[in-house]
Symmetry: C2
Subunit: 483 residues, 2 copies
Amino acid sequence: MSSHAPHPVLLDAARLAALLERIAARIGPARVVTDAAELAPWLVEGRGLFQGATPAMVEPATTDEVSFIVAACAEAGVPVVPQGGNTGLVGGQVPFGGLLLSLRRMSRIRDLDPIDLTVVAEAGCTLHQVQQAAAETGCLFPLSIASEGSCRIGGNLSTNAGGTAVLRYGNMRELTFGLEVVLPDGRIWNGLSRLRKDNTGYALKDLFIGAEGTLGIITAAVLRLYPAPRAHATTLTGLASPEAALKLFQRLRNVAGDALTGFEILPRFGMETVLTHIPGTTRALAGDHGWYALAELTSTRRDDDLSALALEVFGEAFEAGEIEDAVIAASEAQAEALWKLREALSDAQKFEGGSIKHDVSVPVSRVPHFIAEAARACEAHMPGVRVCAFGHMGDGNIHFNLSQPVGMDKAAYLACWEGFNRIVHDIVAGLGGSISAEHGIGLLKREELPLYKDPVALELMAAIKAAIDPKGLANPGKVLPGG
Amino acid sequence: MSSHAPHPVLLDAARLAALLERIAARIGPARVVTDAAELAPWLVEGRGLFQGATPAMVEPATTDEVSFIVAACAEAGVPVVPQGGNTGLVGGQVPFGGLLLSLRRMSRIRDLDPIDLTVVAEAGCTLHQVQQAAAETGCLFPLSIASEGSCRIGGNLSTNAGGTAVLRYGNMRELTFGLEVVLPDGRIWNGLSRLRKDNTGYALKDLFIGAEGTLGIITAAVLRLYPAPRAHATTLTGLASPEAALKLFQRLRNVAGDALTGFEILPRFGMETVLTHIPGTTRALAGDHGWYALAELTSTRRDDDLSALALEVFGEAFEAGEIEDAVIAASEAQAEALWKLREALSDAQKFEGGSIKHDVSVPVSRVPHFIAEAARACEAHMPGVRVCAFGHMGDGNIHFNLSQPVGMDKAAYLACWEGFNRIVHDIVAGLGGSISAEHGIGLLKREELPLYKDPVALELMAAIKAAIDPKGLANPGKVLPGG
């Protein structure tokens, strides 16, 4: 993978020193980090796919400081790479010679309004911090992803984060009313609107969300809250196939409507992997099943009997031969135990050796077809490879992960990543799908984009990038092919 | 208002004739309309604020024909103005010398998938046509606006249309998964994605939605459907003030959550105007009230007792002294009668003489403050003016309409529009609001934009416009100030 990394930007040492001095004079010398040991953890991303390099990490505390730094870098012709919690999965947060700009000190919740159902959060707030602030006022901030304890709002916005509640509440984009952005030349766009309706020009907010820092640096956002649900039903169903899971999904959606907030699937191999490797997990259904579906129902009405609703649907599905067994959590602890079976899967897979991962989406109706075809093709490509296709079926978003054949050398296996990419992504493309459903493009998928994205879309992206970042200093080398 | 109209584009007669001939050869001479009588209805918008002019109206039937026409116009340097149902309220669809491109023949529903909950509709489909197609398969396309019988999907997309169900389902942008667009040079961007999650680059779809044709012509879209609701409760409440309405809104939202799909308010003057002028309307509550709130609850669960839910909330609100009276529709006919009281208001106002209108939004929590302050200021500015502030309180979107003083000359009254704009829009801006909540900018508010929009946002818009439409031929003179 490291062959994908762009060449480091070469900077003139004297000019660089002058730039860092200028920045230190503004934000304090302690906030310009050049010590190699201090930098090290911020230069490599979670999976270790990319090793970054930077002359310094700067840690501004205010929007004005970010603006000053970016303007100074623009004058000096120095690229800037923004970083939040460094939890991104595609390398978008890794610098290659440019200045690393950490948003972590900008972690203030500026405002929370339970009538407007809005929270104004700075980019460096952790997702958990925002969830907590909402919960304390009887509200819900619905974004929920595995890294929520350490990922930051700026990164959630820049990658348009998804997760397990998108089915009901949408991605980060749908959860955002307004933004504050520092543009690549240092100008500040104050778009911190709290409005639910505003048709006064182009959708600038939507453009910066998901741009992975290539159009500027998001410093704060107005996020959308919901009234906190007061009733829940968490259910696990055993069934024969993704086709059966799709049928159950339709049944639940048609009756429960918005009350259906999550619908996840995992295969038997995934369930067994979790039960084998993750302490404290226990089998929730008596028998073995080819597939499992985890469905979550919620309601703002305290006395809403969602268990009865689920039971009724499960009864009909059982009669129709579509499901084999089901359990409805009788307590919050049981609900958490069911979710753990799903959420521990990524960690559990690490015990099974190398894992080649694909974060893809297809139209919901094509999920069973996709899983069957991609599994067949991958097993033919490498006999013994263990397919673990799981995830957000309700959104058509499958994490199509491939565990190495038992006993194979891990490095030799991971060297086959490109071949599997081609197989899986070609099938995805044939079904009108996406090669990155929720993780983004970053560096990891940048060179794949031209293979699958409409060429006119790529031309439009390049034109917009050139218009907003004409010097190419905003997180260069990310997202845009050949950029 | 007509002083706002840009100067007609002057075209060289011979070059124009050659261009029209070229287009006629491709789409058929009958589809190049130059007859003045045939053109007349398409050159003036509903309120008669602008009188347009065009050398010809062309009527392509396919995306390829649109592409051909736009490319030919780009070569000849001729502007193109797209038009759907000609129901826009800000003049965006009126040509001033450019070619008028009607999308009305592109009215095919290409596909409808009740599993994916998607419909692929061409730009010329009426909104009603899409609603009907959805209903026939047990689905709901939730966009609902007064002009739904004649407005077209392309216009709904280009103005990011809103309406009475935004509270629950969002604007047109939130109801769109993908687009097909003909760019200003004739290239076709095929972005007809059906995906609920796709993080592969910039949010191009969102950029074209709401751009009012200034970045290209939307020819088709993948729209989002919902399972059709099976239970409804339509309610009308009499209360003392917008403050009381806001309290009722919070009570309903906190308990009903997503079941609350609409929350509209109207003042006593509005209610009396409807009852006086609109045949077939009847008083729904016995007494008189200062304000009225219409709340709609829906659910996918057939046996969901929403009336009981509403009754419970109304009981608490009554106990707290927040509401004076309430009625819950006992039949579909009664529900329609309640909605008519709200929906007939725009028509009813015409009987009260000239009406100066503002389509504004503020944060939901500021609606009562806004209405009080703006009413006071307008009444001080012109004693006798009759304030009719009504609309989508749940979205913070108020139609702040001013009926002329009784007996005043209509033309003299309408000449005061600019003065009222400044008063109302200054108050809106002071509350962090928008001067166009759902109608767009078009020509009507183009020169006001610089007074209220963040200057950096305007610079970004101009840069994007120049990048995508460097020749400035896509609906010139609209949206962008001085454009």
